[in-house]
């Protein structure tokens, strides 16, 4: 059903359902990308923060937002990218991290601001067998947000969501 007018909270609730296209077990709200909704007489402005400067998913997310709003009868919407404050993996809640692990991606273990010079000291737990006896294969993995690890215990390779 199409409503005539919406409250900011109602729009946020609508958009909170949108999944991250690359990690479909978490939503853009859980990832911390959805920052705010501003309603004015000009329409509805969605503030979105990119996870990575060139994250290819951002274009898809923007389209998903606009089509979700259109379905609800909101036509005059626009998406604005905000860069400050810079997105950080610290914004992920423990619940979100749990979802990543169940999806097979090891969750970020510390803030990007600390310890970046020696990431080898980071203890990354295998999402399959929970062993901490793992090794870094490459800091750059299948997508901008992931590093590639392998487990010395169960010998499975896995993705690690890098700290940012």
């Amino acid at each position: 059903m199409v409503k005539e007018s919406y409250l900011r909270e109602e729009i946020l609730a609508l958009l909170s359902e949108i999944k991250d296209p690359e990690i479909p077990v978490v939503t853009i709200e859980e990832m911390g990308m959805l920052r705010d909704v501003i309603l004015s007489d000009k329409g509805c402005e969605i503030l979105l923060t990119p996870t990575y400067t060139a994250c290819p998913a951002m274009g898809i997310i923007e389209q998903d937002i606009l089509s979700t709003l259109k379905e609800a009868g909101i036509d005059n919407a626009k998406v604005t990218m905000v860069f400050a404050p810079a997105w950080t993996t610290d914004w992920m809640s423990e619940t979100t991290k749990e979802k990543l692990i169940r999806f097979g991606i090891a969750a970020p273990v510390h803030s990007s601001c600390s310890n970046w010079l020696s990431p080898k000291n980071v203890e990354v737990k295998c999402p399959k067998c929970e062993s901490t006896d793992t090794k870094l294969i490459s800091q750059f993995g299948s997508t901008a947000c992931k590093a590639l690890y392998s487990c010395n215990h169960c010998h499975e390779p896995f993705d690690y969501f890098k700290c940012h």
Binding site: Y52, T53, F83, Q139
Partner: protein
Amino acid sequence: MTKQEALYQYLLQLGDNALIQSHRLSEWCSKGPILEEDLALTNIALDYIGRAQNLLHYAGEVEGKGQSADQLAYRRPEHQYYNNLIAEMPKGDFAFTIAKQLLISTYELLLYTELCHSKDETLAGIAGKAIKEVRYHWTHSRDWCYRLGKGTVLSNELLQQAVNDLWMYTGEQFEMGAEEELMLKEVIGCDNKALQNKWLEMVETVLSDSNIKIPTATYNQSGGRKGIHTENMGHILSEMQYLQRAYPEAIW
């Protein structure tokens, strides 16, 4: 020069460095020495293209003539690109690309740390995002310098040769043009000169830990940030701009 003109020029310089770096790194796509490195170099290229997109988009806004990031990236003639010459150097062999990445990303690490404190909120925001990515780029090139420098006689030689060949293009990164002086005065830009000693110290540490000698030659070639490029630039643009010039406004 007004503050707006200086900011536009400054954003083009930053954006062009990222754009040309991205292009050179993307030339490694499917040609990396091992699969993980193919992914690493193209991931870094992706970070750079994202940064270029943000900076050029903002440059277009500052200029206020309705130019999009794509128009700025793909429609300007060669002498209106302001990247440092080191960015346009050919990708060379793997050691050459790694040396290039170390010399550039050490500078970017210092530069973007400073720009996070820019009074211009948009630039500070872009820098805040970029610095997190630059840290990964820097550690990537540092770790490969260790491996190549302390690897075989040949890998050490190739890295040493690359550092020697690139050295004369490193000084340009610390030059200050009129627009940069103005940006510095406005607390928007960064004092490049003030970064040079720290840069040298960081580069020397990595290279000496990799058994690589610091070149003693002091000659420096510059010109890129004034729009005067090496012969490499025309070749880059002919490939990079081909599609947009043959089919203007083409989109996915």
